[in-house]
Symmetry: C2
Subunit: 187 residues, 2 copies
C-alpha cells in the first residue's frame, strides 16, 4: 500500500473537476487527474472506481443524512414535515460548496451518460426516503408520493441554487421551493 496522503480524495475530486471543465470529461484520463493532484493512479483507484464516480462520491453520505434526519424527525411530524426535515439536513451536506456544485452540474449537463447516473442517484434517494417514511408508519402510496415530491423539490431547488447569481444558501432555496410546491398543489 502507498503512504497515506492527506485529503487525497478531496484533492483528486478537485483535480478531476478542473480537468473536466478545462479539457472535457471524455478527454480526461485517470492518470491526468492523479498527476494534477500530485498523486498516483493507484491512489486514485483506492478512492474512486473510475472517473465517473468522482462526480458521485458524495451520494452515500447524502442518502445517509437524508434518511437519518427523516428517522429522527419528531413523532408528531406529518409525512411532508418529515420530508422537509430531511431536505434541510441534505442541504447541510451538499450546500457548502456552491462553486464545486456549479462546475459539477455543468459537466453533468453536457453528458447524457452522467445525466443518467444522476437520475439513478435521485431515484435511489427517493426510494431511501420512502423507506424512512414507511418506518415512521406512513403507508403507501403516501410514502412514495411524499418521497417523490420531496426529491422533486430537492432537485429543482438544487439547480436553482447552483444557477442563481448570488449564494442565498441551499437550505433557504430548498425551503422556498417547498413552500412553492405547497402553494401550487393548493391551487
Amino acid at each position: 500500500m502507498g503512504r497515506w496522503e492527506p485529503n487525497a480524495s478531496g484533492r483528486l475530486r478537485e483535480a478531476a473537476l478542473e480537468l473536466y471543465v478545462e479539457r472535457g470529461y471524455e478527454q480526461t484520463t485517470v492518470a491526468e487527474i492523479a498527476a494534477r493532484a500530485g498523486l498516483t493512479a493507484r491512489t486514485f483507484f483506492r478512492h474512486y472506481a473510475d472517473k465517473r464516480e468522482v462526480l458521485f462520491a458524495g451520494s452515500t453520505a447524502l442518502r445517509d443524512q437524508l434518511v437519518s434526519a427523516a428517522d429522527g424527525a419528531p413523532e408528531s411530524a406529518s409525512p411532508m414535515e418529515a420530508v422537509s426535515v430531511a431536505l434541510a439536513a441534505a442541504a447541510e451536506v451538499v450546500g457548502g460548496h456552491r462553486e464545486f456544485a456549479r462546475r459539477r452540474q455543468s459537466v453533468i449537463a453536457a453528458h447524457a451518460e452522467l445525466q443518467e447516473r444522476e437520475l439513478i442517484k435521485m431515484a435511489s434517494l427517493s426510494a431511501a426516503l420512502a423507506d424512512a417514511l414507511r418506518r415512521r408508519g406512513v403507508t403507501d402510496p403516501n410514502a412514495r408520493l411524499a418521497a417523490e415530491a420531496g426529491i422533486a423539490v430537492f432537485r429543482v431547488a438544487f439547480e436553482r441554487w447552483v444557477g442563481e447569481p448570488e449564494d442565498r444558501g441551499l437550505a433557504q432555496v430548498m425551503s422556498e421551493s417547498f413552500d412553492q410546491l405547497k402553494a401550487l398543489t393548493a391551487d
Copy 2:
C-alpha cells in the same frame, strides 16, 4: 422491402413480451421474437431499433398526448390543473392494456438497465410537461416543480394501478393519487 404485414408492430411487441416473461429478457433474441410473431428479423428492425426499444415504443405517443393536453387546457386553469388535465390524457393512452403494462413492468423491475431507460423516459416526460407549462406563461421554478410533481403522481399511480388486484381504471387511480399529493402537501 418486404410485403406489408398487418399490425406487425403490435404482434412483435406481444411476442417480445411473451418471450421476456417466459425465458427472460437477456435470453431472448430478435430472431426469436420475429419467429414467434410469424415475421422476419428484417420486419422487426423496420419497427424497432432493438429488443429494448420494444418496451419503450409508446413513449413518444405518451409525451405528445401529455403535451397537447397541457397545451389545450383552459386558459383559466392553474398550473396543477393543467397538469391534471395532462395526466388524465396520458391515462387514456397507457391505461387501456393493464395486462400488457403489468408484464412489461415485471420485466423492467428485473433489469437495472431497463429501469434506467424508464427513468430517462420519465425525466423526458417531466421536461416536456414543464415546457408546456412555460408556454402557458408559468414561470420557473413553478413550471419545473409542477411538472416534477405531476410526473411523480403519474409514476406512483401507474405502479399502483398495475399492482392492484382489480382494474379500477388508470384515470381513477391517477386522480386519487393526485388528491393524495394535495392532502399530503397541505399537512
